[in-house]
């Protein structure tokens, strides 16, 4: 029993550690390749550039661990963002504008949640439908035109808070929230349990539908905040902005070790995943890699990350099976998955 536990902890540490090892190696290589990489401004730039996608990725992480995902986040971001910008223009209230973004995004995610829990639609299809609907709504609302002259709205995403660019502060706060929620709340443990084995979680008394709905609502809050930061950063209400961000955020989560089969993943891993992509994109531009080649490299990294994920997972499963063989009494799979 004790042996299998140490084993598990060791595997857990190794799999988490390896992400940071990759990040650290990449960081060192980038610093050696280009002298501009290691400057304070460049590093804050990268952090600021990845902030919107990373915030989306934290929502994705919770959903993926729970065995779901959100393909609508880019479109919902755009809808929440344009509604928020236009609220600000009409009322000049930053607070109201912020609330509208969150409300709009949470509403979309409640619909996602309803489709998934009440009507048992696969999350892939449900959120794919929302992706089209939300984009359509954003375009309909603005008639396809960008909204300019947004005045003080830019304060949300362009200024500094505590000496750091504001978007980075949002990103760090949401990192903390995600980490705490996943690791230190009953909700978080239920999320892992559902992703690990939904039927077992249900049998053990977890209200699966309610947890899934809450996961979508939390995702909605994150997407709403991301919408505000995005529109503020580009200094305009852009109904066709953030196209493809759902995939960038999925990429960050998956590179960060979140497993598509559910039950595995962490907030800090996702942050590492986002930085790996951020460092790569940055160094390729700094060293002037051909822009077509950049796409190939980016794709190759995603493929490698997923292959690594599957490989690491199969190793972990084997080890788990072995530990079960060694001690037949220790067959509490649910407990081990819930952790």
């Amino acid at each position: 029993m004790a042996n299998s536990k140490t084993n598990k902890v060791w595997t857990e540490i190794k799999s988490k550690y390896s992400i940071f090892l990759v990040l650290a190696v990449l960081f060192v290589i980038c610093s050696l390749v280009n002298e501009n990489f290691l400057s304070y401004t460049n590093l804050t730039n990268i952090s600021r550039q990845i902030s919107v996608v990373t915030i989306l990725a934290f929502g994705q992480t919770i959903l993926i661990i729970c065995g779901m995902l959100d393909l609508s986040s880019g479109s919902v971001l755009a809808l929440a963002g344009v509604l928020s910008v236009s609220t600000y223009i009409n009322t000049e209230s930053l607070v109201l504008a912020f609330l509208v973004a969150i409300l709009a995004s949470v509403a979309c995610n409640i619909l996602n949640g309803l489709m998934v829990t009440k009507f048992k639609a696969p999350p892939f299809i449900a959120t794919l439908a929302m992706m089209t609907m939300a984009r359509g709504a954003a375009l309909l609302y603005t008639n396809g035109q960008n909204i300019y002259q947004i005045g003080d709205y830019i304060k949300f995403g362009q200024g500094s808070t505590f000496g750091l660019p504001t978007p980075i502060v949002y990103m760090l706060v949401i990192l903390l929230i995600t980490w705490y929620t996943l690791k230190h709340t009953i909700f978080g443990r239920s999320v892992y349990a559902i992703g690990g084995n939904e039927e077992a979680a249900n049998a053990s008394g977890i209200s699966v539908d309610s947890i899934k709905m809450r996961a979508f609502i939390i995702n909605g809050i994150f997407v709403g905040i991301a919408g505000v930061i995005f529109m503020s950063r580009v200094n305009g209400g852009m109904p066709n902005g953030a196209v493809g961000f759902e995939f960038h955020s999925l990429t960050a989560a998956v590179i960060g070790g979140t497993s598509f089969t559910g039950g595995i993943g962490s907030a800090i891993g996702t942050l590492a995943g986002a930085f790996i992509v951020g460092f790569l994109d940055n160094i390729m531009v700094l060293t002037r890699v051909n822009s077509y080649l950049q796409q190939i490299i980016r794709g190759a990294i995603i493929a490698l990350a997923v292959i690594y994920d599957i490989w690491a997972k199969s190793k972990r499963t084997k080890r788990k099976l072995r530990s079960v063989e060694v001690d037949p009494k220790d067959s509490n799979i649910l407990e081990s998955k819930a952790k």
Partner: protein, 327 residues
């Protein structure tokens, strides 16, 4: 639950059939009681593309001025397959005129040819599909649009300058022709100028911002931003806003968007050239009318692409104010 679901699906199915049967946006419901109005199918590239949407809206507005014409707008959704299907449908529905704003000219060419064969007046626009016998076209010339800026830049960009270049999506006719124009009209004539960064930002403001943020790290001196559209120029300028090192940076774009004219007024942007959706729309309707009434049988025209700079910017701010794009 299952019964609920089946009821819901059935309702959704009926609704979609009903919606499918209704006609798309009509501009002039009943123009003339004596004679049937002419029907024009306008197949837009994508209603999600801000310029394409501006053009579609302008076409709708312009059509209101004609009593004898009704325009139906169709959304090609930036997909060749969708657009080709829409053209085929328009042929089957026997429209009098089909206006195509191609997603990718070569992919729509056979379908435009089919429309001509079916005896339907066919007009291609933004960008035109060249060399279809019997078809007409209304367009802006992307080479000229970039050239008016490039010619001005020859005088404005300092000796041995460092510049960055932001490009549109590869393979896009306007993106490629504008870049080619900058090459021939500027870079070939100014070998002293060094390109310190060149990336594809896909017409997007946020992608342009990300590239510019990285470029200003690697280069303490950037003298000019050369962008193939205004969105990307505005994105790059957003990055250097308030940065002393780049206070005198020059910036060039194309399109004449509301945002660009405001930036030119502020003194942040140097120049752009107008690709006016209003001009295109009014020429499109005028051309349609002439072809329908048999006044002419084939027309190929380009709209002007005037340079917008600090000297004449007020005139264009007025234009956008009238359209409601600037308050």
């Amino acid at each position: 639950m299952k019964r609920w679901l089946s009821v819901l699906l059935a309702v959704a199915l009926v609704m979609s059939v009903l919606v499918g049967c209704t006609k798309p946006t009509e501009t002039t419901p009943e123009a003339n009681e004596d004679s049937e109005p002419y029907r024009i199918a306008y197949v837009a590239r994508a209603q999600a593309d801000s310029f394409a949407a501006w053009l579609a809206n302008a076409v709708k507005e312009e059509a209101d001025k004609y009593d004898n014409i009704v325009v139906d707008i169709f959304d090609g959704q930036a997909s060749d397959a969708t657009q080709n299907a829409l053209i085929e449908n328009a042929i089957t529905s026997k429209y009098d005129v089909i206006i195509i704003q191609p997603n990718n000219g070569e992919a729509q060419r056979p379908y435009a040819e089919k429309a001509v064969e079916a005896g339907i007046i066919t007009i291609t626009t933004n960008a035109r599909i060249d060399g279809i016998e019997g078809a007409s076209s209304v367009d802006a010339d992307p080479y000229a649009q970039a050239m008016v800026n490039a010619v001005a830049a020859i005088e404005q960009i300092p000796q041995d300058a460092n510049v960055v270049v932001l490009k549109g999506p590869p393979g896009n006719f306007h993106a490629d022709a504008r870049r080619e124009s900058w090459q021939k009209e500027f870079f070939d004539k100014r070998p002293d100028v060094k390109i310190v960064g060149e990336e594809i930002a896909n017409w997007n403001k946020d992608e342009a911002m990300t590239y510019m943020e990285t470029w200003v790290q690697a280069n303490s001196e950037i003298d000019a931003i050369i962008a193939m559209n205004d969105n990307m120029a505005a994105g790059a300028l957003e990055v250097v806003k308030g940065d002393e090192r780049f206070a005198d940076i020059l910036a060039y774009g194309v399109d004449g968007t509301a945002e660009a004219v405001l930036l030119i007024k502020e003194g942040a942007m140097t120049s752009t050239s107008l690709q006016s959706a209003y001009d295109l729309a009014s020429k499109l309707l005028e051309t349609s009318n002439k072809l329908l009434t048999g006044e002419e049988t084939q027309i190929d025209i380009d709209i002007d692409c005037p340079l917008i700079n600090s000297e004449n910017v007020d005139e264009y701010i007025e234009m956008h104010k009238k359209a409601g794009a600037i308050r």
